[in-house]
């Protein structure tokens, strides 16, 4: 059944349907609908809700709940996600699943509350201390956010890793028709959980400490072997580039909807453009840039930042094509015509 729902609330409802049993959060704009929705509906669903004393408190509550084997989620916005990095590093180090939703805003510092994509580095490069990554999902519609929440919980459990999802004020506040229905449950062994051994098994320990150099190196190598599996199995991209396209426009998240309109506008101007929309920001779909049609002569990266995903596109393109950038930041959002103008200038020369 289709229902009309706000992005932030749809994320919550999907999490509850996906079996999330606990939510710990802290107020920060523009994600406040998430803790508000959870304060009522998580409790109605028989789960735990705590409005924590801080984002640090919230992520550490997630750490405790996850250690006992339950599905758990937290959410925040950019500066709050920065505060959560300590806990996310611990979750990664202790191999604990958790879903973290970032309804991002503009920065740095307190910045502003309008949409921006300046958290790309923070989300895709570990973010906290030590050798780790977290899978990052970047939906562009309310329905895709719902689908990816189900996926995020599964991936977190399967690979024992924290998983992030990034939305922004646009997606969070946007209402769209959507479907939230239970999915087939995956079967995951959680015999590692510290939920009291009842005298029936050896004691379990959840821990990221290892004072032996060889021991810690081994733990990290084991984690990176799992990352290889994630790269192989979980990389997602929406590649709309067709034979004959002259330019590929790369954009992600809600701002990629502007790029979709820019592609249409470019067609009206007689320029064939195709969109590449990474759905996972880590692992990044580098391969898509190795198999572009030979008609593509230029790449244009469009972000609501000063250029962060740009680095990943350059890694993927590996010098084979010129990579251009058009971005806005501080909460300013590009219009389709701005992107089309930038692309037209590149294709017609003079860029």
């Amino acid at each position: 059944m289709k229902i009309l729902m706000k992005g932030n609330e749809a994320i919550c409802e999907a999490a509850i349907v996906a079996g999330c049993k606990a939510f710990f959060g802290y107020p920060i704009t523009p994600q406040n609908e998430i803790p508000e929705y959870m304060s009522l509906n998580m409790v109605k669903a028989g789960g735990a809700f705590v409005q924590a004393e801080s984002e640090i408190g919230a992520i550490n509550m997630c750490y405790g709940a996850s250690a006992s084997g339950v599905r758990v989620m937290t959410s925040s916005s950019s500066p709050g996600i920065a505060l959560k990095q300590e806990g996310m590093s611990y979750l990664a180090g202790a191999n604990l699943p958790c879903v973290i939703v970032n309804v991002s805003r503009s920065g740095p510092g307190l910045g502003g509350i309008l949409p921006a994509q300046g958290d790309y580095f923070q989300m895709t490069r570990g973010g906290g201390n030590g050798d780790y990554y977290t899978p990052v999902y970047a939906p562009f519609s309310v329905q895709e956010a719902i689908d990816l929440i189900f996926k995020a919980f599964d991936v977190a459990d399967l690979y024992r890793t924290p998983v992030q999802m990034v939305a922004d004020g646009m997606l969070g506040q946007m209402m769209e028709p959507c479907v939230i229905e239970p999915r087939a449950a995956i079967n995951v062994d959680k015999s590692w959980a510290t939920d009291g051994n009842s005298g029936k098994r050896p004691r379990n320990i959840v821990n990221s400490l290892n004072l032996s150099a060889e021991g810690l190196e081994q733990m990290n190598k084991e984690r990176f072997a799992r990352y290889q599996e994630i790269k192989k199995n979980e990389t997602m991209v929406d590649n709309r580039v067709k034979d004959g396209d002259e330019i590929a426009i790369v954009a992600y998240g809600a701002p990629s909807r502007v790029a979709v309109n820019a592609v249409d506008e470019l067609a009206a101007r007689g320029i064939k453009a195709g969109l590449i929309r990474p759905i996972t920001l880590w692992p990044y779909p580098y391969d898509v840039f190795q198999n572009l049609p030979s008609s593509v002569k230029n790449i244009l990266v469009c972000e609501l930042s000063m250029g962060q995903m740009l680095d990943d596109v350059k890694i993927g393109v590996a010098g084979r094509l010129p990579v251009h950038f058009y971005g806005r930041c501080g909460g300013a959002i590009f219009e389709p015509a701005e992107i089309a103008d930038a692309a037209e200038k590149i294709v017609r020369g003079g860029a």
Binding site: I56, G57, A67, A94, N207, L209
Partner: protein, 249 residues
């Protein structure tokens, strides 16, 4: 015919404690292990270890364990307890962990009245990192970051954690005990046991502050350190029940 007066508690694991010779952490671990066994709670208990000397406490108790980041053990305990209300959850924290970097987490776990037990070991110093000044370091006490002694004008007076937490309306049981001789250990064990009993009965937040030693950090023999607890720490950190709203345990 003989009767065992004392033997190692089965609440402790086989792992050798990592503490320095004569450190009271080991003694306090025994009180906890014995209490959990005597109350028949061990098998549904999860210990949350801090950052500091007792970082590896998860290895020393014969129950499940979680290692928390510095100061956050009470938040970890909240997350665990809210999703596992029938389990016994306790944090084991030192004064750097609880009274400095973790003040927000301890205050708000207390503020929410979370049904957990906090064992707070106050030895007036950062032991693990090499004997730096803690919020609980006594005035004029020399540490590696107060080499001339703690100066009140610059660093204030030592933080009184039991007094502080007992002012928080939602706390149930707060007591300060000491670990420097057997009579005080007996009292300390009664307090630890009561805290766990209250938790098992769903009575809410309990904390037992235990005055302990740091012979290495204090630059004393273990026996002199026991005397320091009695003669110097206890006058500033008065022992006693600061709050008990649990009724019959």
């Amino acid at each position: 015919m003989s009767k065992i007066v004392y033997e190692k508690s089965r609440g402790l694991s086989e792992t050798q404690l990592s503490y320095c010779p004569g450190c009271t952490h080991g003694i306090i671990h025994k009180l906890i292990a014995e209490s959990l066994v005597e109350l028949d709670l061990l098998e549904r208990t999860i210990v949350i270890s801090p950052v500091g000397c007792s970082v590896m406490a998860y290895d020393f108790f014969n129950c499940d364990g979680i290692q928390a980041s510095h100061g956050r053990a009470p938040a970890v305990a909240t997350g665990l307890k809210r999703t596992n209300p029938d389990k016994i959850v306790f944090t084991y924290q030192g004064d750097g962990d609880l009274a400095a970097i973790g003040t927000a987490e301890i205050v708000h776990a207390a503020h929410r009245g979370d049904n957990i037990t906090v064992i707070f070991v106050n030895n007036a110093i950062y032991g693990m990192t090499g004997g730096q000044m803690a919020p609980t370091t006594l005035i004029d006490m020399k540490t590696s970051t107060s080499p001339l002694g703690r100066v009140e004008a610059l660093t204030g007076k030592p933080l009184l954690v039991s007094e502080l937490l007992s002012q928080i309306p939602s706390t149930t049981y707060i007591e300060r005990v000491a670990s420097h001789d057997v009579p005080h250990l007996n009292k300390a064990k009664r307090a630890v046991k009561k805290a766990f009993q209250y938790q098992a009965q769903g009575k809410g937040f309990s904390m037992v502050e235990i005055l302990g030693t740091c012979p290495i950090g204090w630059n004393m023999t273990p026996t002199d350190a026991m005397g320091f607890v009695k003669d110097t720490m206890m006058p500033y950190f008065p022992l006693g029940v600061y709050k008990d709203e649990g009724g019959e345990a």
